[in-house]
Assembly symmetry: C2
DNA sequence: CGTAACCTTGATTAAGATCAATTCTCGTGG
DNA sequence: CCACGAGAATTGATCTTAATCAAGGTTACG
């Protein structure tokens, strides 16, 4: 695999050529179709992944079939690193499992598996990478903090409004007629599961926000008609 | 401060005498009464803390006054480390804020502030500590994953049952008449805010579990009458 | 023993989930 | 180019859980 691609992964951004070669040896490219599971939370832990192409959802299922999406992982982002670092000493002994399920949610999703045991050996000789991991984890913790805050302190309408704002802050899309908008890159079903609700409620929420003249939903595009009101709604 | 005390903090467990001395220089002991706030999420970031004595809750408040507790932090555990590691380069430039509020919830709570900027300098000369931080963060991430899973996938009754089981797994208390039990070290109000509900609902849930003969609540002690049923309830 | 903080209980309300139909959208093959 | 069918999205009616509102009861502690 092209070494340059590895460098786009935050963890690996500081590595030199020699280290990238070693990384290449312990990684495996895997391809999935939309809807394929990459791993289940019942499977033994092999290592962590990054997305080369497409998109992956990390999710949990309750006993009675309810789904909640913890993360949506896009290109060059990693997932399932946590178990690797939880208990250094014991990784060789214990039978670790993946902490959640992962599914490809785009056609032709390609992911790269970095084999766990071998990566731990590699990391010892590249001390520089450790701080990258710390920093990556810190960002993740911040994100989860925010996620919990949204889920516990806000109702569905606020969460939806907040999602649109956050997404637009990241993408900054502007339509030809000068309106800010976002494009959903996941299904509304998945969006609902991420926002801690269900399809139907999300649909109704969109409609109510449309009726109030705050947004306009057109398929996968959501146009922001009144950003001031949207911000008020979100807080 | 006694150097031995530092060693009980997971992050610092591998440090040598010299390093502990340096740590001592950049730390500040602070004392709080029950109900005192240690910091608010509006304050500029000074550094992270560990609890020397007592207990601390990390919480968020919504605009309309609803509270959710993210963590309960006990002795020799750290809190508020995340902002320090999120953006190494920019800590000197940006005005960082604490990501949540912290309050002492026990009388005579003592915490130690480790000053952030100075700690970053210290850490560069002690590479060994980095992996400790990674590992600590990984544990924290696991905990938050679990927390989100509970909040989104389970109803209040399941969460309460799950809490009792988890707490008992950690403490393993057995009463003189041979019954497993747990002792709440926080108020029921705080427990409710941690479990994503309110006092009244928690109270009713306890009563229902009592009526079903699963537990017995006596003040701060909760006796497990039927652990099999409790496990069934929790899943 | 009196007061404040904490906890419990009951009645009511509201948000959102569930159940049940449609309708819409889009890719595929005739 | 159109028809078909499957998955995705919408909509309405109803139900359930847990929050809110309101009032007492308990406990801890000076």
């Amino acid at each position: 695999m092209d070494k340059e691609l590895y460098k786009k992964v935050y963890f690996f951004s500081g590595l030199n050529d020699d280290e990238l070669d070693k990384l290449n040896v312990i990684s495996r490219l895997k391809k999935f179709k939309k809807g394929d599971n990459i791993f289940f939370d019942t499977e033994p832990y092999l290592g962590f992944y990054f997305v080369l192409n497409g998109m992956v959802k990390i999710y949990k299922i309750s006993k009675d079939g309810k789904e909640h999406i913890l993360h949506i992982v896009g290109e060059f982002n990693t997932f399932a690193e946590v178990p690797l670092f939880e208990n250094f000493g014991s990784i060789y002994e214990n039978e670790f499992r993946y902490p959640a399920n992962a599914m490809a949610i785009e056609e032709d999703t390609e992911v790269v598996l970095i084999q766990g045991r071998q990566f731990l050996e590699l990391i010892e000789t590249t001390p520089n990478m450790c701080m990258k991991i710390v920093s990556g984890f810190a960002k993740r913790l911040r994100h989860m903090n925010h996620h919990i805050e949204e889920l516990t302190l806000k109702d569905v309408t606020k969460r939806v409004a907040g999602f649109i704002l956050t997404d637009h802050t990241n993408t900054k899309k502007i339509s030809p007629d000068n309106k800010p908008f976002i494009t959903l890159n996941i299904s509304k079903n998945d969006l609902a599961a991420y926002l801690g609700t269900i399809q139907e409620t999300l649909s109704r929420t969109f409609r109510r926000l449309e009726e109030e003249g705050i947004i306009e939903v057109e398929g996968k595009n959501i146009y922001i008609q009144d950003i001031k009101k949207l911000k008020e709604t979100a807080t």
